[in-house]
């Protein structure tokens, strides 16, 4: 019984970790893409330059979500599994 309760809390924690952790990066990547697409629409010649910087920015924003994912994975597969 106790083990089942611990497992349940573990799964809940993992779900919350990635669910809440994905909100911020989601918004961030959205804003980033909006800016990049607007810039590319206004100045199509600079597309390649904007694109490289955009991918860099997305990678930075995405890294935060990946931290949350790693916490979730550790909760699922490492702690007490």
């Amino acid at each position: 019984m106790e083990q089942a309760l611990i497992d349940a809390i573990r799964y809940l924690g993992a779900g919350l970790a990635i669910g809440l952790g994905a909100i911020g990066p989601g918004i961030g990547i959205g804003i980033l893409m909006q800016g990049a697409l607007q810039a590319m629409g206004r100045n199509p010649d600079a597309s390649s330059n904007i694109q490289t910087n955009m991918i860099l920015g997305v990678a930075f924003a995405e890294a935060i979500a990946i931290y949350a994912l790693v916490v979730a994975l550790i909760l699922m597969f490492v702690v007490g599994a």
Binding site: T52, A63, I66, I74
Partner: protein
């Protein structure tokens, strides 16, 4: 008649698909055990060889053979090499694009940084794409489960080929099976304890696993990259490189300089954070991709995993690009001096 054959083939495919689909649906909710750390396949003295290490070596060999074969004509000085064809044109295209990128970012420092970022790109790319091959994380030796979840053993070819029945999980606690050593898929186990065969739990220890889904590989790459960032910085700026972290000249100026002095410490912290960020970005993406494909294959093993394989092809490429591009940007940032620092120094 022709139509009849077509319908026959269609019917056979539907029946085949139904058998494949209904089997996992009957076992719905029974997902495979997923392991975060890599497993030791064998060890030579104190050196343990994990399954990710084996795959790393294979990916390296494949990459080297591919590149050496593609550039064979150039090294021979063959006049045919002027017009690239086949593999050579692919390699030239990629090298050209990467060099263009590094020239864009680093300018005249590109020649120094480019070999590092291109090497990282190609290694990470090939390492990531090993994920897509069948047999990765599924072919290996069968061994007794020491702890966690094991499965009942199924004989496909007695004494030679086994599999585990994932619909019959057996919980094993660490203390019970501690003495039992892992065994190569041999018949000895069955002969030894036929009475207990019902309750014995096994799991598959895979020979191959995607290198970048192991934290050791990504951490090693991150450490190498950040070490080279520091070395390039010192090479380019000499001792004044360290003023980036401990900004003594700024502190001497007073006023806003104290602020710059404190910012230097933040720079030091962010340097460590970059190692972690490099490590977990690659690990998280590739490990999560592997889990995604595995889970999709368990829900419906037919057709459904296909788009996800395509997605993982893309993710593997993007992550290789991001890793090498960040390495490029960090190296460039370390090598470009701050103008006012130079003046304060002299």
């Amino acid at each position: 008649m022709n139509k009849l054959i077509k319908w026959g083939i269609f019917l056979a495919m539907v029946i085949f698909a139904c058998v494949w689909i209904t089997n996992p649906i009957a076992n719905y909710g029974k997902f495979p055990t997923i392991k975060l750390p890599s497993e030791t396949v064998f060890s030579i003295g104190p050196l343990t060889v994990t399954n990710t290490l084996i795959t790393t070596v294979i990916a390296d060999i494949v990459l080297l053979v591919f590149v050496f074969r593609a550039t064979r004509k150039i090294r021979r000085g063959d006049p045919d090499a002027e017009v690239p064809r086949g593999a050579q044109s692919i390699i030239e295209l990629m090298i050209d694009a990467l060099y263009g990128l590094s020239k864009n970012v680093a300018g005249n420092r590109a020649l120094k940084i480019f070999p590092w970022m291109a090497t990282i790109f190609f290694f990470v790319l090939f390492a990531n794409w090993t994920e897509l091959f069948p047999g990765i994380e599924s072919i290996g030796v069968i061994e007794k489960a020491h702890e966690g979840t094991g499965y009942a053993k199924v004989e496909l070819i007695p004494g030679f080929l086994y599999t585990v029945d994932q619909s019959k999980p057996i919980e094993v606690h660490a203390s019970e099976e501690h003495a039992a050593a892992g065994q190569v898929a041999a018949a000895a186990e069955v002969a030894a304890a036929p009475a207990e065969a019902e309750g014995e739990a096994y799991h598959v220890l895979p020979f191959f696993r995607t290198p970048t889904s192991d934290i050791n590989t990504t951490l090693a790459l991150a450490l190498i990259t950040m070490t080279m960032v520091q070395i390039f910085g010192i090479q380019a700026l000499g001792g004044s490189y360290f003023y980036k972290f401990i900004n003594i000249p700024a502190a001497k100026q007073g006023g806003l300089g104290y602020m710059m002095f404190i910012v230097g410490f933040l720079e030091l912290i962010s340097e460590v954070a970059r190692i972690l960020s490099f490590t977990f970005r690659l690990l998280g993406n590739i490990f999560a991709g592997g889990v995604l494909i595995l889970v999709m294959t368990y829900i419906v093993p037919f057709f459904l995993p296909m788009p996800f394989l395509g997605l993982e092809l893309f993710v593997g490429f993007i992550q290789a690009l991001v890793f090498s591009m960040l390495a490029l940007v960090f190296m460039n940032m370390a090598m470009s001096g701050h103008g006012d620092h130079e003046e304060a120094h002299h």
